[in-house]
């Protein structure tokens, strides 16, 4: 009897082990009943009855790795527009979205229909051939009202792959209670102010910045005419203008604490720094800290060469998976048209202080009167979209290494640039 039970248990264990390894069609949500996803049913959002809609609703799943309340805002705005057509959008948060898309992006059964993410990863996904060109689904007129900067960011080789929703860029954020006088109009004036008002040993700073992070040094690099990656995917870290920018940034870095995100935001929020160079994502934390916030555009500050500071901008947009475009093309086209509407931009601006990609959204008085959004839009005049070529994926490491070596380890900028350029070329070669 004991032997029988032991044998039976062994067989059961084997069967259950193998069963657990069987393929599931649902890695965490099939779009119909997502766990933890952001669903806004057309019924509740639109207030319409079941009878007025088509019998079958096409559920479209959008993966994201952003703020869930923003996604809820988008869903709440778009779903009522789509209700009559029997289309419903569902947002699902996926931490490590880039890796998730590498795994499931080409998988019609388990992957999303669309994704919402920053544009700098676009080249990677296009190279993997998991995205469908938007022009396969909708007319170019859908994004005709979008700011040119945001449209350009969504293109690879002239083909539009990303529908821009909102964008962000660096700003000069200052504490009105601590900052003395006007905001400088040149970087040299800014430096003089920093020298006069910084006491590193006491831990009080005039300006703090993530001085060894590519994104935060981009205003200098672009302003000097340097570049991290050109349109053909060639790195430009040892370009003389890039080196000049890195050298110029070095003297500012010496007065900007250690450049760590946590450090600089804490210093500013605790009133130990009068200003911070940062993005709109810092604003909620700053306001929660009770700081009387002033906002200025980096575009209004000129370098010694006469050029304005030109920060990178990151565009958040919607990409369509190729597999979904083939099977749900009509529903996705309707969703894209709704997502491109100015109402989405207005809702995002009101809910999260996001700068809409759609220029028509700025006609709304609440949007146009928002100080932060106005500064972002103004900065868009000189800002440059982050490079979106696939090679950009491996560029952040070498650039940040170079900046940290110069700013924190005192390495010569030219030497660090040559080493970083070699590392970048090797990393790009390794991609092939």
């Amino acid at each position: 009897m004991k032997k029988m039970i032991a044998t039976l248990l062994s067989v059961l264990l084997i069967v259950s082990t193998l069963a657990a390894c069987s393929t599931a069609n649902d890695p965490g949500g099939d779009g119909t009943a997502p766990a933890g996803g952001t669903t806004a049913s057309a019924e509740t959002a639109g207030g319409e009855t079941e009878d007025s809609r088509p019998a079958e609703t096409t559920e479209l799943t959008i993966w994201h790795d952003g703020d869930e309340s923003l996604m809820q805002t988008i869903a709440d705005t778009v779903n009522p527009m789509l209700a009559d057509n029997g289309v419903s959008l569902t947002f699902e948060k996926r931490t490590g979205l880039s890796d998730q898309l590498k795994l499931y992006g080409g998988d019609a059964a388990n992957g999303p229909d669309m994704y919402l993410w920053a544009h700098d990863s676009l080249g990677t996904f296009v190279a993997m051939e998991i995205l469908a060109p938007l022009t396969d689904l909708v007319d170019e007129s859908v994004w005709a009202d979008d700011l040119p900067l945001t449209v350009e960011a969504g293109q690879i080789g002239g083909t539009q792959y990303l529908l821009p929703l909102y964008f962000e860029t660096l700003l000069f954020l200052y504490n009105k209670d601590l900052w003395q006088g006007d905001i400088p109009s040149t970087t040299e004036e800014l430096y003089a102010y920093m020298v006069a008002n910084t006491d590193t040993s006491a831990g009080t700073y005039a300006v703090v910045n993530q001085h060894s992070t590519s994104y935060n040094v981009s205003p200098f690099i672009n302003g000097f005419g340097g570049y991290i990656l050109d349109a053909e995917g060639n790195p430009g870290l040892n370009d003389p203008r890039t080196i000049e920018a890195v050298e110029y940034n070095q003297k500012f870095a010496a007065l900007e604490a250690d450049g760590d995100y946590n450090t600089v935001t804490t210093l500013f929020n605790e009133g130990k720094a009068a200003a911070i160079i940062g993005g709109p994502w810092l604003v909620p934390g700053i306001r929660a800290a009770g700081i009387d916030l002033g906002v200025a555009s980096l575009s209004d500050m000129t370098l010694p060469n006469g050029n304005p500071l030109a920060p990178f901008s990151g565009i958040q947009g919607i990409g369509v998976m190729k597999a979904a475009a083939e099977t749900k093309g009509d529903a996705i086209a309707l969703a894209l048209e709704a997502l491109a509407s100015p109402e989405v931009g207005i809702a995002l601006a009101e809910a999260g202080g996001c700068a809409p990609a759609n220029s028509l959204s700025y006609e709304d008085p609440d949007v146009s009167s928002d100080e932060v959004i106005a500064a972002i839009k103004h900065t868009a005049e000189t800002a440059q979209p982050m490079p979106n070529a696939a090679e950009m994926n491996v560029m952040w490491g070498p650039v940040d290494s170079m900046l940290a070596a110069v700013n924190r380890n005192g390495q010569d900028a030219a030497t660090a640039a040559e080493e970083a350029q070699a590392a970048a070329l090797q990393a790009i070669a390794d991609m092939q």
């Binding site: 051939e129 450090t263 994926n393 924190r408 991609m431």
Partner: protein
């Protein structure tokens, strides 16, 4: 006869299948991928390209790799020596006959081990080493010294990483040695004391030989964990957005930096397989020395 032979296999089958699925299959699949050109540009339609990736992976074992290997060996040896010595001394202290509140001390010593590594590392990065917010720099400035960037250059970053690793790893070594110490027959010490043996003689002649069978496997295990340590050095000095300027690399961080960041899975797999072979050889050598010892 067949049934008698088959029965043990049948009982072991569930565990064997599990091992096959979660250990053997991933290694075999990595081996297969290492023979293909799977990368961003051949994500779905990749094909077998033979040993090309191995040729490129061997190229990766360049001077940078050798330097990283040297750092890894130094890192492993220093960590193990310090862990064993400090672990032994602290465990001896915890077993001192007249020690009060020993349970409280033992519980407190376990705290670093109980904390998730990621949290511990971030806590140390900001709470201890940070130039503005870190405790160490607060003390330094309070004493009138200049601030020190503990993670900016290789030498001091290496020492900082070792300090953190000790904080995280010592509890395991202490608890293992402590457990081994409890199993030693007290009468051996009483006899030794009657024979006039002092503390160090007792430790050398009785304690160490007695705990060796228990501590040796734990030490071997910790050696491997330390050898392939990734998170401490990566999160303290290399995390994207938080680079400190130190160019410290162990074998694993070097390989991550040079192969895994490229999204070239064929190449990364080939490098992984080579590392796998290196670790297997290391394991054989360690096991042999353990048996011979």
């Amino acid at each position: 006869m067949f049934r008698r032979r088959a029965k043990p296999w049948c009982y072991c089958a569930p565990a064997l299948i599990l091992i096959l699925i979660i250990i053997v299959f991933p290694i075999a699949y990595t081996g297969y991928i290492s023979l293909t050109n799977m990368n961003l540009y051949h994500w779905q339609a990749y094909e077998v390209i033979g040993l090309d990736n191995y040729a490129r992976a061997l190229f990766k074992l360049d001077s940078g790799f050798m330097s990283a290997l040297g750092t890894t060996l130094l890192w492993t040896v220093l960590n193990m020596v310090i862990q064993l010595v400090f672990g032994f001394l602290i465990a001896l202290g915890l077993n001192a006959p007249k020690l009060k509140l020993r349970r409280l001390y033992k519980t407190l010593l376990m705290v670093p081990w109980a904390m998730p590594a990621y949290i511990s590392i971030l806590l140390w990065r900001v709470g201890m080493f940070n130039t503005e917010l870190g405790l160490l720099n607060k003390w330094l400035t309070a004493l009138g010294f200049e601030k020190i960037d503990f993670l900016a250059s290789n030498g001091i970053a290496f020492v900082s990483c070792i300090a953190l690793n000790l904080w995280m790893a010592l509890p395991f070594m202490i608890s293992t040695i402590d457990g081994a110490l409890q199993s030693i027959d007290r009468s051996l010490y009483e006899s030794a004391q009657l024979d006039g043996a002092g503390f160090w003689t007792q430790a050398w002649k009785i304690t160490i030989p007695s705990i060796r069978p228990v501590v040796a496997p734990a030490a071997v295990m910790t050696t491997f964990i330390t050898f392939k340590q990734f998170d401490i050095i990566y999160l303290l000095t290399q995390q994207r957005g938080y680079m400190t300027g130190a160019t410290l690399n162990t074998v694993i961080t070097y390989v991550h930096q040079n192969a895994f960041a490229s999204n070239n899975y064929g190449l990364s797999s080939a490098v992984s397989m080579l590392l796998f072979v290196i670790i297997i050889i290391f394991s054989f050598l360690t096991n042999r020395s353990l048996r011979e010892g």
